[in-house]
């Protein structure tokens, strides 16, 4: 019974969330375009699928994954777990938190692979590029970026080093890569930074950041708990650019040896 109630509630909030979008669409459709889009019925059914699918998806996440994931983030950051019940030092040593970095990377990777908006962008990129950009390869490259980003972000919270330095260093790397990367991939790579942090990733990663900042001695959740999302938005740009650069180099390197096989699938890194 509780599940049905939960589904009803979530359906209502999802509906409220899309209301502004639907309102804007209708307004412009009637005032400016003044002509229904082709296959209106099919589009309406598709919209219902999106709403229903998103509702079920969110309910399932809240029933099954978020409680376990959030409890896990709390337990892993608990000083009792980290120091095995021993004394807690006043100054944290970053090597005491190794399991946190492993968890941060693993959960960052896993939540990104399941992120619906990233699935959408990778489907579109695959379609537009005529299959050159593999939907699965793109998602794995982005997920590797989020994994690295969240792990380094957790390291930053433990050490208490200033956030801007890391983000600026990230920008510098992105700028250097932009100069060298294949031109066609750059806009897509920039976009992936924004789409990765959404429905699945944000709640789990935010819980990890706040839990970690609360548990590490000398950190405040309010001042140090933020920033993980920012890491998760910069690093995918690097890995997507890096992935295409490596793929391009490998093609150039292979060419003299024999004719390149265009159907060959590159593996990430």
């Amino acid at each position: 019974m509780g599940l049905i109630l939960h589904i009803g509630n979530t359906a209502l909030t999802t509906l409220l969330d899309v209301l502004p979008i639907v309102a804007v669409l209708f307004l412009f459709q009637f005032l400016v375009i003044r002509q229904p889009p082709p296959h209106l019925g099919r589009i309406a059914v598709g919209f219902l699928y999106v709403l229903g699918g998103l509702t079920l998806f969110l309910v399932g996440l809240e029933e099954a994954l978020f409680p376990v994931g959030e409890t896990m983030a709390r337990q892993l950051t608990d000083p009792a777990f980290i120091y095995g019940g021993g004394p807690v030092p006043a100054q944290p040593v970053w090597t005491d938190y190794l399991w946190i970095y492993v968890f941060a990377a693993a959960i960052g990777f896993a939540t990104t692979v399941a992120e619906p908006s990233l699935i959408a962008v990778s489907i579109k990129a695959n379609e537009i590029s005529g299959g050159v950009v593999g939907a699965w390869g793109l998602r794995v490259a982005v997920a590797v970026g989020v994994a690295a980003g969240v792990a380094i972000g957790a390291f930053r919270i433990v050490t208490g080093t200033p956030l801007p330095y890391y983000i600026m260093a990230g920008y510098v790397v992105v700028i250097l890569q932009t100069l060298k990367a294949p031109r066609l991939i750059i806009p897509l790579a920039y976009d992936t930074g924004g789409v990765t942090t959404s429905t699945v990733t944000v709640p789990v990663v935010a819980a990890l950041g706040l839990g970690l900042a609360a548990a590490v001695p000398g950190r405040s959740p309010l001042l140090d708990g933020f920033g993980l999302i920012a890491f998760a938005s910069v690093f995918p740009i690097m890995t997507v650019l890096g992935y295409t650069m490596i793929a391009a180099w490998m093609r150039a390197w292979k060419k003299p040896a024999g004719p390149a096989d265009p159907s060959r699938k590159e593996t990430a890194e």
Partner: protein
């Protein structure tokens, strides 16, 4: 028959997409924390919901959101009214962002931070108005981002130059903005783009780049989301300086 096959394929894909999360959480629960799962039946029901939901969502993307975004792009291009297109871009960005639940949560936490840092009075009233101001700021920034992004597609300007210029601005503002706003500003870039906005905006951008002569969908069509994650940082840093 083909329908059932298509449906099965979607379900298998969705199950594959969820597998890493299940493995990671299972591994840490059993091997690192060494605890049993609290409610196995409930978790299994939840997982079935997640997989079916994701499959439905992907099906709905192809049927509804992508064609809608593309047909809008074509309709606006046929109409040829630049102002209507830019107004639409702004409304879409502003409207979808202001009500975004993730942003509401972040804005409330940001108000907490600001009042503890002494930037605003430590009253509920002051915090509420600060959070509301922040939400409008981010909404405006995403509206502005889509205007700028659509204009860029029409003009065929170089995306890297604009984004790198934006990064420069972020770095510059970081040095003068109050330190307690920086973390929130950086995070706000990531939380603004929701699961329904992303497919719609992507299809709109790619659709525009496909119908306008001389534009390449790959080179010019992507990039709207990049603007929508960059401008909130700039606007929120400025907001932190003004308030």
């Amino acid at each position: 028959m083909a329908v059932i096959q298509g449906l099965l394929r979607l379900l298998v894909d969705a199950a594959r997409d969820m597998l890493p999360i299940v493995l990671v959480i299972g591994f840490f629960q059993v091997f690192i924390l060494q605890q049993p799962f609290p409610d196995v039946a409930g978790i299994l029901v939840g997982l079935v919901c997640v997989v079916v939901g994701l499959a439905l969502f992907v099906q709905g993307l192809e049927m509804g959101l992508f064609p809608l975004g593309e047909s809008l792009a074509q309709a606006f291009a046929r109409k040829g009214s630049l102002w209507a297109l830019l107004a639409f871009a702004f409304c879409l960005g502003f409207g979808t962002t202001v009500a975004e639940p993730a942003l509401i949560a972040v804005a409330a936490e940001a108000a907490q931070v600001a009042s503890e840092a002494g930037a605003i009075a430590a009253t509920d009233e002051a915090r509420k108005s600060y959070a509301l101001g922040l939400r409008f700021t981010v909404g405006l920034s995403v509206g502005a981002a889509l205007i700028l992004g659509v204009f860029r597609i029409l003009k065929g300007w170089s995306l890297p130059l604009m984004i790198i210029g934006g990064y420069g601005l972020v770095i510059l503002l970081t040095t003068v903005a109050p330190p307690e706003i920086v973390g929130i500003a950086y995070d706000s870039g990531g939380v603004t783009t929701s699961t329904i906005t992303v497919p719609l905006v992507t299809a709109l951008g790619v659709g525009l780049a496909s119908v306008i002569r001389g534009r390449n969908p790959m080179l010019d069509g992507f990039g709207l989301i990049a603007f929508a994650s960059l401008t909130p940082m700039i606007f929120v840093l400025v907001y932190g300086m003004i308030v």
